[in-house]
């Protein structure tokens, strides 16, 4: 399967018209990005430094080069990021020459808008919703492009590509607009905004295959490396000052990589020797655990994601 796809990489150069599944997903995403450019006054691309938003940046290059992006990148920085992610972010912004806006969760805490969680499983994941909504209000963004995919989680499977949020950032699954053919209705009232998900129809494996095909660089934490970890609730967490650790936590050196990149306090590592993209793809293909299986935040209840999205979470 993968060899065949590699052979098809030169699709445009081939005499016969060969539209592979990655080409189709890519063309759809580019179309969606251009609709955002055409329909909104002040869009933004939410950039987390993870593989999905990195993929979005490549798609935006394909949609708008040699022009500039018609939107800035916006990073909601929890302050608990992996250092490698921030380094990657800054180098990438430098390379593409686009504007980066940072919304800081630390600032929201300092301003007293949110309160740091306490306890062993404290995380800033929930706090970032407030910072996100503040950032949207501050810059008056009317559309926020994000890298969420419908295969990630069952509530996301229900979400439209253009997803309307009210002035409180809330998603109401019962009031979704019908979304027909490839026509996206971006009309909103002042104060509302639309979350746009150009890679809704991609799966985790599609993203990896695309990254391989496009030879896109990723933060090093996606690849196998040695790291001090502790085991908590059955998950491997990176030992860091951001994790509330006590004498019961045993720090062990492990060969790990991360399958998804978020806040250090809620993103679990997997043990892995995968140092190349090919290894990662084989590993994911064989894996019996979903990507979200490594996110503590989804394990709170059966409707955890749905509830967070109703509250304005991405």
């Amino acid at each position: 399967m993968f060899n065949k796809q590699q052979q098809q990489r030169q699709h445009f150069a081939m005499s016969t018209y060969n539209f592979d599944y990655l080409d189709e997903l890519e063309a759809e995403a580019i179309h969606i990005l251009r609709e955002v450019a055409g329909q909104f006054e002040k869009p933004a691309l939410l950039f987390s430094g993870g593989k999905d938003s990195i993929t979005l940046v490549r798609l935006a290059e394909k949609a708008f080069r040699p022009g500039k992006f018609p939107f800035p990148l916006v990073h909601i920085d929890t302050g608990h990021n992996f250092e490698e992610t921030i380094t990657y972010r800054d180098q990438m912004v430098e390379r593409i020459g686009e504007k980066l806006i940072i919304g800081s969760v630390q600032e929201s805490i300092d301003q007293g808008k949110v309160v740091e969680q306490t306890g062993k499983n404290a995380s800033r994941n929930a706090l970032q919703t407030v910072t996100l909504l503040d950032t949207i209000a501050k810059y008056q963004f009317d559309a926020c492009i994000g890298g969420a995919r419908r295969d990630e989680e069952k509530a996301r499977a229900k979400e439209r590509i253009f997803s309307v949020r009210d002035e409180f950032g809330q998603w109401d699954p019962k009031r979704q607009r019908p979304e027909l053919w490839n026509i996206y209705n971006g009309k909103i009232h002042k104060g509302e905004n639309i979350r746009v998900f150009p890679i809704s129809n991609w799966t985790e494996l599609d993203v990896w295959n695309y990254i391989r095909r496009e030879k896109i660089d990723l933060p090093s934490i996606y690849f196998s490396h040695e790291r001090d970890c502790i085991t908590r609730n059955g998950q491997l967490m990176a030992a860091s000052p951001f994790l509330n650790m006590d004498s019961e936590d045993i720090v062990e050196r492990k060969q790990v990589r991360f399958r998804t990149v978020g806040d250090m306090s809620c993103t679990a590592a997997v043990e892995s020797d995968a140092t190349l993209i090919d290894d990662i793809i084989s590993e994911i293909s064989a894996s019996k655990i979903s990507e979200r299986g490594a996110r503590m935040d989804d394990k709170v209840s059966e409707a955890a994601m749905e509830d967070r999205k109703k509250g304005g979470y991405f």
């Binding site: 539209f19 890519e26 055409g38 708008f64 022009g67 069952k154 607009r177 026509i183 209705n185």
Partner: protein, 416 residues
């Protein structure tokens, strides 16, 4: 490898969610942690086995009520193909959600309960399939285990369905007897129905012609965005960005820009770092023209030798999707590809009773009503008939008071 997009139609008790769950389960597409979550949920079948239906009901309200309210999209792949399933609700009050799911599908699976045969819902679902011009239909006669896997029952149902298919002009219909609950003929051929000589559902889905993109030769590209870097070295750069809806644009093709009618020639096609000789249906590209013509978002570049229709008066099928009824006295926005303009419904020709397929004179359209109207637009639209070109023959209506998408339109004729 390519993608097949399909949707499933069937009412609540026909086992639609179970069928999808079975497809995912038997193709090993459900991961261990998801399976664990399933096992720990309280919904079990009578025999204690996992209730596969809850895999697709992603919302709290759906799990509470045990029904599907909104479309869910599911993904799986085999060695041969990738699949995108739009899991749509079967209830009549969710007709609009079924239309939503069907609008992007190339194949429909219609479930029939073997114990009940062709019922009103079957007619309704089949009508929507025909209205939306879906090329392939698979009729799954489900719950064969409940009728002792009887060939006689199966044959009687398909004889009846064939009459309906003819009436609705469904060209390509395939019949498969299945039990989603037991897994008969879903992924593997069943030993319980030796009389059935066809393929399993999955095998059929793996090899059916996808026809994802309109094969019509009508070259159409609505302009979404004009790329003008306006830098020193790219001072004169002017590229028209869009997705080719249908047909092919080759270098040096003569083109017409609508609505202005200006003529030009394709000078260059760009795709990121590549400059291909042609842009085909489905591809998102940048086109450069030889002449300096005035083009902006909402315009359409078309092949000069195969022009679309242009009209401000269009006969169309309308599916009404809002709880507020159609108001023929007000203006709506019509969105046709990248073009948005004002419009009014100037006449309601008829409404269709989608349970009996009878046409009635009507003065109003309420939620989930489907019928034929004449629409009058402020600016002329450059369109093709839906049957010739799905992508350029469809549009949506937006209520400017609420900004909601209130109608789906399929263009049937230009009114002279």
């Amino acid at each position: 490898m390519n993608i097949l997009k399909f949707f499933t139609a069937g009412s609540v008790d026909d086992g639609k969610s179970t069928l999808i769950g079975r497809l995912l389960y038997d193709t090993d597409s459900i991961l261990a942690d998801q399976l664990e979550a399933l096992q720990s949920s309280n919904r079990k079948n009578d025999d204690g086995s996992i209730d596969l239906a809850i895999l697709t009901d992603g919302l709290r309200a759906e799990r509470e009520q045990g029904i599907t309210i909104d479309v869910a999209y599911k993904y799986f792949q085999t060695e041969k193909r990738k699949f995108i399933i739009a899991d749509t609700p079967g209830h009549i009050q969710y007709t609009r959600n079924m239309v939503t799911g069907a609008s992007t599908a190339n194949l429909a699976i219609i479930l029939i309960d073997a114990r009940n045969g062709v019922v009103e819902q079957t007619i309704r679902h089949s009508y929507i399939v025909s209205l939306l011009g879906i090329k392939h239909v698979v009729v799954c006669i489900n719950k064969m285990d409940m009728v002792d896997y009887s060939e006689t029952v199966y044959s009687a149902i398909i004889e009846k369905y064939k009459v309906l298919a003819q009436q609705l002009k469904l060209a390509d219909v395939t019949y498969i007897p299945v039990s989603a609950l037991k897994g008969d003929n879903i992924v593997q051929n069943s030993g319980n129905m030796d009389w059935y000589e066809g393929e399993s559902l999955l095998h059929f889905l793996e090899k059916v012609d996808t026809d994802n993109l309109d094969k019509s030769q009508l070259a159409r590209m609505p302009v979404q965005w004009v790329i003008r870097p306006q830098t020193e070295e790219l001072h004169d750069y002017r590229g028209y960005a869009g997705r080719v809806l249908s047909g092919t644009f080759n270098l040096n093709d003569k083109v017409t820009v609508l609505p202005s009618g200006a003529s030009s020639t394709v000078e260059k096609i760009e795709f990121f770092d590549q400059t291909p000789d042609a842009a085909h249906a489905g591809q998102s590209v940048i086109i450069h023209l030889k002449d300096d013509v005035d083009i902006s978002r909402g315009d359409t570049i078309v092949n000069a030798s195969a022009l679309p229709q242009e009209s401000k008066l269009i006969e169309a099928d309308l599916c009404w999707m809002d709880s507020r009824a159609l108001d023929t006295s007000i203006m709506y926005n019509i969105q046709h590809n990248s073009k948005i303009t004002r419009c009014k419904i100037s006449e309601i020709l008829h409404k269709v009773d989608i349970n009996t397929l009878e046409k009635h004179a009507a003065h109003e359209f309420k939620l989930n009503d489907i019928g034929r109207v004449i629409i009058k637009t402020a600016d002329a639209l450059a369109f093709d008939l839906y049957d010739d070109n799905r992508a350029n023959g469809s549009a949506i209506l937006v209520d400017t008071r609420t900004n909601l998408t209130v109608g789906a339109l399929m263009f049937r004729a230009a009114v002279e």
